[in-house]
């Protein structure tokens, strides 16, 4: 499988997170997957400005010429995208969210009904599964996880993808590796 790991950890000093991600990626490679990792803190990705040029001026391409385009290109070329981020104030990092927002060129402005709600039409035939690899904060509780999980589910519907797994880095690497094969 072609996998993309989007590493949205803002602090390289967070060694627990970095070591888990490193072991996870080498496990994926050992299992024969083709893996690419983007470390967002080393890339230049400006926030979306809400101009909608990617829908109405240059269909499918963001008006901002930076690494955000690279992430979107690799995103749509993958079978499975794993968003790896520590939870910060109960959600994925701002670094992650800024890169994620830059993915709207992957859908078409037109609406269609999906399970009785409006969503955007697909632009591409195949949209990847999206999974989340997270790190808890000291005070993360079940409610936080339920809130974030509900949003992740919505996000994958909205990008016309499917939600893969949601796992935390305090589980054994092997368990997360197994989860890849299920989804």
């Amino acid at each position: 499988m072609k996998l993309l790991i989007i590493n949205g950890n803002p602090s390289p000093g967070n060694t627990l997170f970095e070591e888990f991600t490193r072991d996870f990626i080498s496990g994926l490679r050992d299992a024969g997957h083709q893996v690419r990792e983007f470390v967002l803190r080393d890339m230049k990705i400006k926030p979306c400005t809400g101009c909608f040029a990617c829908w109405v001026k240059t269909p499918g391409i963001c008006s901002i010429d930076d690494d955000g385009r690279k992430v979107a290109r690799e995103f749509i070329a993958s079978d499975h995208v794993i968003i790896a981020s520590p939870l910060i104030m109960g959600f994925v990092s701002a670094l992650t969210k800024n890169a994620f927002d830059r993915n709207i060129p992957l859908v078409h402005p037109h609406l269609e009904a999906v399970d009785g709600e409006t969503h955007h039409k697909k632009r591409y035939d195949r949209h990847p599964a999206i999974s989340f690899l997270l790190q808890r904060e000291p005070f993360t509780d079940d409610e936080d996880i339920a809130i974030a999980t509900a949003i992740f589910k919505r996000e994958s519907i909205n990008l016309r993808s499917t939600l893969g797994f949601i796992r935390f880095i305090d589980t054994p690497v092997k368990e997360v590796l197994d989860a890849i094969n299920i989804h």
Partner: protein, 218 residues
């Protein structure tokens, strides 16, 4: 009463968030003695700690933002992260949110609303509730009865808030309609939005025939 409104739209002063909140603020200021300070997150991106400082010194705060892929825009998340040192320490702040989106159903915002309520609790703020509304993209092409409705309810919410310091639940509920859209109504609404909002802009830009382009095709 003093209100601090923090506008988190990446479009800044030209946003739908600003447009509807202008009605709210007009209503709010009708009570003599009230005052409102407006801050834009976009203008503080270089130094969010300054904005965090303004937040921590405020009495009543509303934070407004558009829904970006079912959550707050990344730049609003940057601001939330700048509040990390304030967790549990904001007992004197009353905090509410304004969450609006492009899809016509208000329900689309409810998941982000839950997040915001939890964030308010995490900060230790007194949570005032949230103004939540779908269907605000393309106000310029929407029928007048709809834009009049936004003006009326945002103004009325601001007026009541200016008197009581509370977001009136009856007004919130009325503004939020439609929470969902019936299947048969979707069948009429979707082609209208696709044409009047998107195809017309694509056509004006001379790219209607390219709207389904796949420039990132692997």
């Amino acid at each position: 009463m003093r209100l601090t409104f923090i506008n988190g739209s990446p479009r800044g002063s030209k946003s739908n968030t600003a447009k509807v909140m202008d009605y709210f603020i007009q209503g709010f200021l009708e009570t003599p003695g009230n005052s409102c300070e407006i801050q834009f997150i976009t203008r503080h991106r270089g130094d969010l700690n300054a904005l965090a400082g303004i937040f921590s010194a405020a009495e009543r705060v509303l934070i407004g933002f558009p829904l970006y892929i079912d959550a707050m825009p990344g730049s609003v998340k940057e601001f939330f992260e700048s509040l990390t040192p304030l967790a549990g320490r904001c007992r004197n702040i009353e905090l509410g949110f304004v969450i609006q989106c492009g899809f016509p159903e208000t329900h689309q915002n409810r998941f982000a609303e839950r997040y915001c309520e939890k964030l308010a609790r995490r900060l230790g703020c007194c949570y005032m509730g949230s103004i939540v509304k779908g269907g605000l993209e393309g106000m310029a092409i929407q029928p007048k009865f709809l834009t009049d409705k936004y003006e009326y309810f945002f103004h009325a919410l601001g007026l009541e808030f200016g008197k009581s310091g509370k977001l009136d639940p009856v007004l919130l509920e009325k503004l939020s309609r439609p929470e969902h859209i019936r299947q048969e109504d979707l069948a009429n609404l979707i082609p209208f939005i696709n044409k009047a909002l998107w195809d017309d802009q694509l056509e004006k830009n001379g790219v209607l025939d390219r709207s389904f382009d796949r420039p990132l095709e692997p």
